[in-house]
């Protein structure tokens, strides 16, 4: 189990290293503007081929890149209904506070749970390898967080139920 996670993360890391070669590029469509090309998708020659890395049917990662920006969308593992709800709520909590993260996108791309948007300005301010470390670390931690949350929900539910039903004994 841990093995496949390592491989998955290494693959994503290598892809990100190659894809995160961004540079400042002014908009071709509108004068004096500078927009992330991966979001606009107006000039097809400025976009690169999107790469989809799947760990299994439930977990995958889509990396779309362009000349000045890169968008990384992830779908986290959701085994049952409870994990579904937990993941949704947790990631929504993070996305609402996207300002603090800077590279997080407020709404995930259709079909995925969470998305990051990294532009050349982020690469100028922060080290590229640190950004990649952050993304990979995030992916590792998400799984752990959701499992922990599920565990604590179950524990709490058990405690509450025990206490409640004691009165009927």
């Amino acid at each position: 189990m841990a093995n496949t996670l390592r491989l998955y993360l290494t693959c994503i890391r290598n892809t990100l290293e190659a894809a995160m070669c961004l540079q400042n590029f002014p908009c071709q469509e509108v004068e004096r503007h500078n927009k992330p090309e991966v979001e606009l998708k107006t000039s097809l020659e400025l976009l690169l081929n999107p790469v989809l890395i799947c760990r299994n049917e439930a977990e995958k990662c889509l990396i779309e890149s362009s000349i000045n920006s890169i968008r990384i969308s992830m779908k986290v593992k959701q085994a049952d209904e409870l994990e579904n709800i937990l993941a949704k709520k947790f990631l929504r909590f993070l996305s609402m506070r996207a300002e603090a993260f800077q590279v997080l996108r407020r709404k995930p791309v259709q079909g995925y749970d969470i998305s990051f948007l990294i532009t050349n300005y982020h690469c100028e301010d922060m080290h590229k390898h640190k950004l990649i470390d952050f993304i990979v670390q995030f992916m590792e931690d998400i799984d752990k967080e959701i499992s922990e949350l599920k565990l604590s929900v179950n524990t709490r539910g058990r405690l509450v139920a025990t206490e409640f039903l004691k009165q009927f004994i």
Partner: protein, 360 residues
């Protein structure tokens, strides 16, 4: 052997250029100003700051003989700065562009300069004596996408451009009244301005960093697919060599001599390419040896200094003894290197020193 020095000027340098006597350097620290620093005694001191542009300055070139600086910016404007007394006076150049300008270079004779832009055009400007201003002529409709790099052939007429549509094109920029009509040389018959002489379709990805070799025989440019292309004899019968290397793509290249080329890019490390006697190019090595890993992650290069470095090198050419005083500079880049500029005295054909600037 390579001695390297680091100078920290700003967090992120977009582009830079050296003065003819190589004591001053002009660069843009990722905003709309041009900073000029002079090397006095053993420190760099900020001499001037040129404010005129509204947006980030994407290209600077300092002419060797006439001591003029040309700057182009994302706000579609270009200024030619002349030094009068101790002030730099700007002259606006009407480029007639409707998108940002991306790169600029003075022609070898310095009577023209070329600007590549996001408007899919190349602008060649020359000085008109009668009206005392710079006039521009556009090469339109030939490019399918933004022009990312321009390079002049030593004969002052041919111009090579690279674009984000993956093609490298060579144009003739003969302008009546500015260029002498050279019937004895008889090189190219198409002397019309904007005539496309060759189109090189070797790369499927964006192309950057085009340069001619010092004799004008070889043309080299880098593609975003981590390949570098060498083309010989562009005018008559182009023959191409491509080298694919396993590292991240290059952003800019520089011919150090007829047979040696340095490429810089996203790898934070300059890469040397050399040609042997038969003309076959191959990649030789990185100029910065990697230090043994100080931290767990091994990506990118060494983590020696903090931000913003201007880095110059002195290389000892194989056949010449160096006469110039050694100016040791040293260090390493931590982020992508965007621009490489030769530090050469007028009249030299072999570049012994160059400087690179980047986004760290």
């Amino acid at each position: 052997m390579a001695a390297v020095a680091v100078h920290q000027f700003a967090q992120c340098i977009t582009c830079h250029a050296w003065s003819p006597d190589r004591t001053m350097v002009a660069f843009c620290p990722n905003n709309n100003e041009v900073h000029i620093y002079k090397f006095i005694k053993d420190r760099w001191e900020k001499l001037h700051v040129l404010y005129k542009h509204d947006q980030i300055i994407s290209g600077i070139d300092w002419s060797m003989r006439s001591n003029k600086i040309v700057t182009v910016s994302h706000d579609r404007n270009s200024y030619v700065w002349n030094q009068e007394a101790s002030e730099w006076v700007p002259t606006l150049v009407i480029l007639r562009l409707n998108r940002a300008a991306l790169c600029v270079q003075w022609s070898p004779k310095e009577n023209k300069f070329a600007v590549g832009s996001g408007a899919k055009t190349v602008c060649v400007c020359y000085y008109e004596q009668e009206n005392n201003w710079w006039v521009s002529k556009l090469i339109r409709k030939k490019h399918n996408s933004s022009v990312t790099g321009v390079a002049w052939h030593p004969n002052n007429i041919l111009l090579a451009t690279t674009s984000t549509d993956g093609k490298c094109r060579v144009f003739s920029t003969f302008i009546k009244g500015v260029d002498p009509r050279d019937s004895s040389a008889g090189s190219s018959n198409e002397l019309k301005f904007g005539e496309q002489i060759a189109q090189l379709d070797l790369s499927f990805t964006w192309a950057f960093g085009v340069k001619w070799s010092p004799s004008g025989n070889t043309l080299a440019y880098a593609g975003h697919n981590s390949m570098i292309y060498f083309i010989e004899d562009v005018e008559s019968s182009p023959s191409a060599q491509t080298i694919a290397f396993r590292d991240l793509p290059l952003r800019d290249v520089l011919f150090v001599s007829e047979r040696m080329l340095i490429g810089v890019g996203f790898d934070c490390n300059p890469l040397v390419f050399a040609a042997d006697e038969t003309g076959l190019w191959s990649s030789v090595k990185f100029l910065d040896e990697k230090k043994t890993a100080q931290s767990s992650s091994k990506y990118g290069s060494q983590f020696s200094e903090a931000f913003g470095k201007l880095y110059g090198q002195s290389k000892h050419g194989a056949s010449n003894d160096t006469v110039e005083p050694s100016r040791p500079r040293g260090g390493a880049h931590e982020n992508c290197i965007t621009c490489i500029v030769p530090l050469r005295k007028g009249g030299e054909t072999v570049v012994k020193r160059f400087s690179t600037s980047g986004r760290s």
